[in-house]
């Protein structure tokens, strides 16, 4: 167990920022807090860092209670959204700051700083000032500055929000590789679902101060617990229905699914890529549908279907065009009952 937080509550005046949040991360895990702005994810991260105090609850680091331990005594380091590099210090001194403030001196400091800068490929720029760096370079330095202290947990507060899309993808991959190599616990805060899926072992989706679902990345995408999670990560078709013998009765007919719902009446979700084309009537969950729109997206064709206003993602080579009548199958393994 690396970092644990139990029953965290935090209010700002009337606004409830966190409501009874639990969080347990394993050592060496890449854990992500995902949600829209104002969902409380940053507040939670700041409470872990010691930059906020929870109204109630407990924060534990490697088994010890650190809830009221000051930030400068916690073995946790943060990469800030603004990077917060010290503008008056060179990159070398920025990275050395955490050791200097603990009155460490000598060749150990130099060696560690150079190793950390080398890790992020910035060793040749050690004498530059932060103002002479690009956004991506600043982010690397902020990462080195935090990691050089060998923290138990590394916290990252939207570290890629200031980068352009192309660079962001490259940095995501690097970040994941780095974390795997170091075997450290990383906790990332982001509102970017794609980023979360790319880098994370596990993801906690948050809404209005609560954790809605906490699961491994793949499970979260494939088995969202409710409409909020299904919508927040990727696209989903939502189909209302009533539980019936052998499946769920919907406006599209009786749909079979591998995991039957626990409710009597509710909603099913299915991802566009799990609605598949068939040359003839499929054995289960088959549907004759008319193509109302087809948008070519390069790697796929986004198809709108009637009835049910379904969205389907098809390979371009199928040649599906507007106006076609086709057979589709809603894969029973990918139909997920939602709860709320």
């Amino acid at each position: 167990m690396s970092l644990e937080a139990y029953a965290i509550y935090k209010n700002y005046g009337e606004v409830e920022a966190l409501h009874n949040v639990d969080l347990v991360t394993e050592r060496g895990e890449f854990f992500t807090l995902l949600g829209p702005s104002g969902c409380g994810k940053t507040t939670l991260l700041r409470i872990i860092a010691g930059l906020e105090l929870p109204d109630s609850g407990t924060v534990m680091l490697t088994g010890g209670n650190v809830t009221t331990l000051p930030a400068n005594e916690r073995n946790v380091n943060t990469v800030f959204q603004s990077y917060a590099l010290f503008p008056h210090l060179t990159l070398f001194e920025n990275v050395a700051f955490g050791m200097r403030s603990r009155r460490l001196t000598g060749s150990v400091v130099t060696e560690k700083v150079m190793a950390a800068l080398a890790m992020v490929h910035m060793e040749d720029k050690k004498d530059r000032l932060p103002s002479q760096l690009s956004g991506g370079q600043k982010q690397r330095v902020a990462l080195a500055r935090a990691l050089v202290n060998e923290p138990e947990v590394l916290l990252l507060d939207e570290p890629m929000s200031a980068l352009d899309a192309k660079l962001r993808h490259a940095v995501q991959a690097e970040l994941r590789q780095l974390q795997q190599k170091l075997g450290k616990t990383f906790i990332l805060v982001t509102h970017d679902q794609e980023e979360a899926l790319t880098v994370s072992d596990r993801i906690a989706v948050m809404r209005q101060g609560r954790v809605v679902q906490c699961a491994p990345a793949r499970e979260l995408y494939e088995r969202p617990v409710n409409r909020y999670v299904a919508d927040f990560l990727g696209k989903a078709n939502i189909i209302a229905g009533r539980r019936a013998e052998g499946g769920v009765e919907t406006e599209l007919g009786l749909l079979r699914l591998d995991s039957p719902p626990t409710w009597e009446q509710g909603e099913l979700a299915i991802r566009p890529e799990n609605i598949v084309f068939h040359p003839e009537r499929p054995a289960v969950n088959g549907l004759r549908a008319r193509v109302s729109e087809a948008f070519y997206r390069g790697d796929r064709v986004e198809v709108w279907l009637e009835p049910g206003n379904l969205r389907m993602s098809a390979a371009p080579r199928r040649g599906i065009a507007k106006g076609d009548e086709i057979w589709i199958e809603l894969l029973p393994s990918a139909l997920v009952p939602l709860h709320e």
């Binding site: 105090l53 809830t67 930030a71």
Partner: protein, 303 residues
């Protein structure tokens, strides 16, 4: 743990009480200094303005509002507008000084902003140098320029405005020259900060709509320069009302302003109570000016 007592402030785990106490230790020396040597003396000024001048210029602790009725022009000899006239003249001079400075500052700032960026520093320095040059020296320099031997005075003599061989001072004209010269940099510097960042796209848009120069200025340029102009006007109008060196050297007894009146009471007349009353009158004028400026400035910002 209890969050009622603890909080994290800029990363530091502490309590509100401790923070306020530390903030107080830091702010108190400077705050107390200002309180002790400006706020309290100002209160004393109010008290003294209601006392009476003794026969030897000392303060007699006999309280009355006589100093204020005297300022209004009433005395044992009847009513006279002399003091009121001085007060009015101070506001009048400050108003025209400010207006002329604003009118001159616009072309000056446009001209500088229109130079190549590396040359602007030079031109800007030309405004900053007089800004920092000692006021007494600058006022005295005008005495030289207006001296009888120099072309300005000779020209005025040819026109018959002044007798031949006499200087152009002391006079209202000299006071205005000195005031405008003193305060032009005070308006130009803050105004320039806005003019340099002016969005010319708006001016182009106005031109496309066939607006005349006056309309272009009024709708596309003026609103963008309001913040700097507002600072410039405050920096000019308020000190100009209380200005003492310029009218003293260039206006003499012929063109006395409220600053001179105050100085006279604390100097040769040794009438501190009346001087305090006049000072309060100036303070009131200042506050009224600031208030008008703030309400009008608000409108300008919206426009």
């Amino acid at each position: 743990m209890s969050s009622q007592h603890h909080l994290v402030w800029n990363g530091e785990l502490t309590t509100r009480l401790r923070l306020i106490r530390r903030g107080m230790y830091l702010a108190a020396p400077g705050m107390l200094w200002i309180l002790l040597f400006l706020a309290l003396p100002s209160v004393l000024l109010i008290v003294v303005s209601m006392t009476t001048r003794g026969d030897y210029g000392q303060i007699e602790w006999v309280f009355s509002l006589d100093n204020f009725t005297r300022l209004m022009g009433y005395s044992s000899y009847g009513w006279s507008a002399d003091y009121l006239w001085i007060l009015f003249r101070s506001v009048w001079v400050a108003f025209w000084t400010t207006l002329v400075c604003v009118l001159l500052a616009y072309p000056l700032c446009f001209h500088i902003a229109n130079r190549a960026p590396e040359k602007r520093y030079f031109w800007l320095t030309l405004i900053i140098i007089p800004f920092w040059t000692n006021l007494v020296i600058r006022a005295y320099a005008w005495l030289l320029v207006l001296a009888p031997q120099l072309p300005l005075a000779k020209f005025a003599a040819v026109l018959g405005i002044i007798p031949d061989g006499s200087p152009l001072y002391p006079s209202a004209f000299a006071v205005y020259l000195g005031m405008v010269a003193t305060f032009l940099p005070f308006v130009a510097m803050p105004l320039y900060a806005n003019v340099e960042k002016l969005d010319w796209a708006l001016v182009e848009a106005a031109k496309d709509l066939y607006a005349g120069p006056a309309r272009i200025f009024w709708h596309a340029i003026w609103p963008q320069t309001v913040p700097g102009l507002s600072v410039g006007i405050t920096l000019t109008f308020i000190p100009a009302m209380g200005m003492f060196v310029v009218p003293d050297l260039l206006g003499g007894a012929k063109y006395m302003l409220v600053g001179n009146l105050i100085q006279q009471q604390f100097g040769t007349s040794r009438d501190w109570p009346f001087g305090a009353a006049v000072s309060l009158a100036l303070m009131v004028l200042t506050l009224v000016g600031l208030h008008i400026h703030r309400t009008k400035g608000g409108e300008g910002g919206v426009a």
